[in-house]
């Protein structure tokens, strides 16, 4: 296999992993603040439809992506209001958000079905992008890909190296104590949820503007749920998220190549490989109970009502 093909395969892996990484990074921050938002799939598809439709209207995929970020954040605000201000059940509200998002996006996107979209063109840095082999892989991909990598770094730095990050984690570990210390629990959770929504929105925009530049109902096809699982997989550590998302993406692409090579393993088994690989790694990680305990936000999914 010549090197050109290897590069092409690696780029496919990056494309497959980027939306998962983005959505999971957002959800990680949300969960670190103690909120479990199962609406990732719904926010993602809202981002996909918003990004696609705005890109079609304006002719500019970057404006589309920015609107998708905003749409995801605004949509998540609904979840935040219900669960944080009205203290509804987070699991049920998150599921409702997913269902609402899938339905609403179908309605918004009806007029855009069957239109070929505008693909976000890869960035082009003189000299660097033209380097043999690594040029295209490292310096010639789309802007959302680079954003996703930078974001993981930023989130990691924010959570573990800044005062604000410490506050957010303390809210997620023990909301009552944080409240007693004068930390604005609800306000921090609101911001975390909206950050999660923005990330999911961008992940959706990646689907409809880079991965497959078109709009079709239900095009997220369950990727939001994979992102949710990746957060647990990563035991709430951003760096591990990178490993998880790329492991999943790599196995997804690799199994297609195994099939195309005609390797005589049943295709049904190969298609289930990404999920199997994720489960196996999850089991290995979970064996170290103390590590898992330390990283799990202690009050995840528990509502907080400040007493006066």
């Amino acid at each position: 296999m010549d090197a050109q093909i290897v590069v092409s395969i690696l780029i496919s892996v990056c494309v497959a992993s980027t939306p998962l990484l983005l959505a999971a990074t957002g959800e990680l921050v949300v969960e670190r603040s103690g909120v479990l938002n199962l609406g990732v799939e719904g926010m993602m598809i809202i981002g996909a439809v918003a990004g696609f439709s705005v890109a079609q209207i304006t002719g500019n995929p970057y404006i589309g992506a920015l609107v998708a970020i905003g749409a995801g954040a605004v949509f998540s605000l609904l979840f935040a209001f219900l669960t944080l201000s009205l203290v509804t059940n987070q699991v049920a509200t998150g599921l409702a958000l997913t269902i609402l998002g899938l339905g609403l996006s179908g309605m918004i996107g009806e007029g855009f079905v069957g239109q070929p979209g505008i693909k976000m063109t890869p960035i082009d840095i003189p000299i660097l992008s033209d380097l043999p082999l690594v040029g295209k892989l490292l310096f010639g991909q789309d802007a959302i890909f680079y954003t996703s990598l930078i974001l993981v770094g930023l989130v990691s730095w924010f959570l573990f190296r800044t005062r604000a990050g410490l506050m957010l984690r303390s809210v997620g570990d023990n909301a009552k104590s944080a409240h007693a210390l004068g930390i604005p629990v609800i306000r921090i959770r609101y911001m975390a949820v909206m950050f999660g929504g923005a990330c999911s929105g961008l992940a959706g925009a990646h689907l409809s503007l880079v991965y497959v530049p078109q709009w079709v109902e239900g095009m997220t096809a369950g990727r939001g749920w994979i992102a949710l699982a990746l957060v647990v997989f990563a035991s709430w550590r951003p760096a591990r998220l990178l490993v998880g998302a790329y492991l999943f993406g790599a196995v997804t692409i690799a199994q297609f190549h195994a099939q195309a090579l005609g390797i005589s393993i049943p295709a049904q088994f190969l298609t289930s490989l990404p999920y199997l690989a994720t489960i196996i790694v999850l089991v290995i990680i979970a064996r170290n109970r103390r590590m898992t305990m330390i990283n799990t936000p202690a009050s995840l999914g528990q509502p907080f009502v400040p007493d006066r």
């Binding site: 109902e217 239900g218 095009m219 096809a221 749920w225 297609f256 049943p266 295709a267 999914g301």
Partner: protein, 363 residues
């Protein structure tokens, strides 16, 4: 513990709502015939489900006020289809079209419970009750034509096939494609990639990329979205559309597409219910009845287009049938002798490859 159970609940529920069903009902019911449809994907997939919905729209157009239609989309293919199908039967539908292979058992079960409702199941073979009909189209006829075009157009001599599930309909398509290709180039090879879904645009795109990276220069698919067409266009190779005309997604890429025209059949069957002449049938329409239509032959030299037109005309007139011997199975045994035609039963239950397919079927 609360946390753990919340997560467990979340995962369980997640599975349940991955593809929530949505319903659309039109108008009220009063003395009209109500025709209902159950779809596997969204009506906007621009492929399989889209074409069935076009069929529904032609029913509305043909009968106007005398008919009322309703549909359910994104209905999962399993026992979960039971409830939605029965729900439609209860809601006053007179005739229900279930438009995917694995609605087979749920359709028959519902038919037993609601003997007054007529059921029409697409692409299946079980008719356990007198009120169940089955109908399908001979898409493989179009696949044969595509195979011939692929062999003429391919420089590498290898085509890629994105397949959904190993059911007879899909295997039949793969076999017809390779038979067509081998009629032009006996050494033609076909790589098959299974995606285990009918509709997942990103996954379909990934499969197309993998095939292209491995040297195929023609992509064809038996999945429902236009994603593979877009990837082929981006990589500068040729591709075939599926179920609907996908030329918009690959103006310089699409060679042709097999278009499913369900309209004529749906109109005929709804009319039969109106007239009270509905009887159980098992139909397998093809090019001859206008149910399988080829999109214009584009992006190919005139002589290739001419050859494709001629082959399609021969199939349409009944002069030629793709599954005519001599045909050897993949394992090297003889299936059909020279001039022998395949039996319908074998075609409907097809579970083996013919020679030249670079893939193994799980036993």
């Amino acid at each position: 513990m609360i946390k753990k159970s919340a997560l467990a609940l979340a995962v369980t529920l997640a599975v349940a709502v991955t593809a929530p069903m949505t319903a659309a009902y039109a108008g009220s019911h009063g003395g009209k015939v109500k025709a209902c449809f159950v779809y596997i994907g969204p009506v906007g997939d621009f492929g399989w489900t889209y074409q069935h919905d076009q069929g529904r729209l032609s029913v509305e157009k043909a009968f106007g006020d005398k008919v009322e239609t309703a549909y359910l989309e994104n209905v999962p293919e399993s026992s979960e289809a039971q409830r939605p199908i029965e729900g439609l039967a209860r809601s006053g539908c007179n005739i229900i079209f279930t438009t995917s292979f694995n609605y087979m058992d749920p359709t028959n079960k519902a038919a037993k419970k609601y003997p007054d409702v007529k059921f029409e199941h697409a692409t299946g073979y079980k008719r356990e009750h007198p009120n169940v009909s089955t109908y399908s189209s001979k898409f493989y006829q179009g696949r044969y034509v595509q195979g011939q075009i692929a062999a003429k157009m391919s420089k590498t001599g290898v085509a890629g096939y994105i397949a959904s599930f190993p059911i007879p309909e899909v295997i039949r398509g793969i076999n017809a494609f390779i038979l067509g290709a081998q009629s032009i180039n006996p050494d033609f090879k076909l790589k098959v990639v299974w995606v285990s879904t009918w509709f997942d645009p990103p996954k379909e795109a990934d499969a197309a990329k993998a095939l292209i990276d491995q040297g195929v220069d023609i992509v064809t698919q038996h999945t429902d979205s236009t994603a593979a067409m877009q990837v082929a266009a981006e990589r500068g190779i040729k591709a075939f559309g599926q179920a609907s005309d996908m030329i918009k997604f690959g103006p310089k890429t699409q060679l042709t597409s097999i278009i499913d025209e369900w309209g004529p059949y749906y109109v005929e069957r709804v009319k039969a219910v109106m007239d009270g002449t509905w009887k159980q049938v098992d139909v397998w329409h093809g090019m001859d009845d206008g149910n399988v239509v080829m999109a214009p032959y584009t992006n190919m030299p005139d002589d290739v287009a001419k050859m494709a037109t001629e082959t399609a005309a021969k199939i349409k007139s009944g002069e030629f049938e793709p599954f005519t011997g001599p045909i050897t199975k993949q394992d090297g045994t003889e299936w059909l002798k020279a001039g022998q035609k395949a039996e319908i039963g074998t075609l409907l239950g097809m579970n083996f490859y013919v020679k030249g397919v670079d893939d193994k079927l799980a036993k």
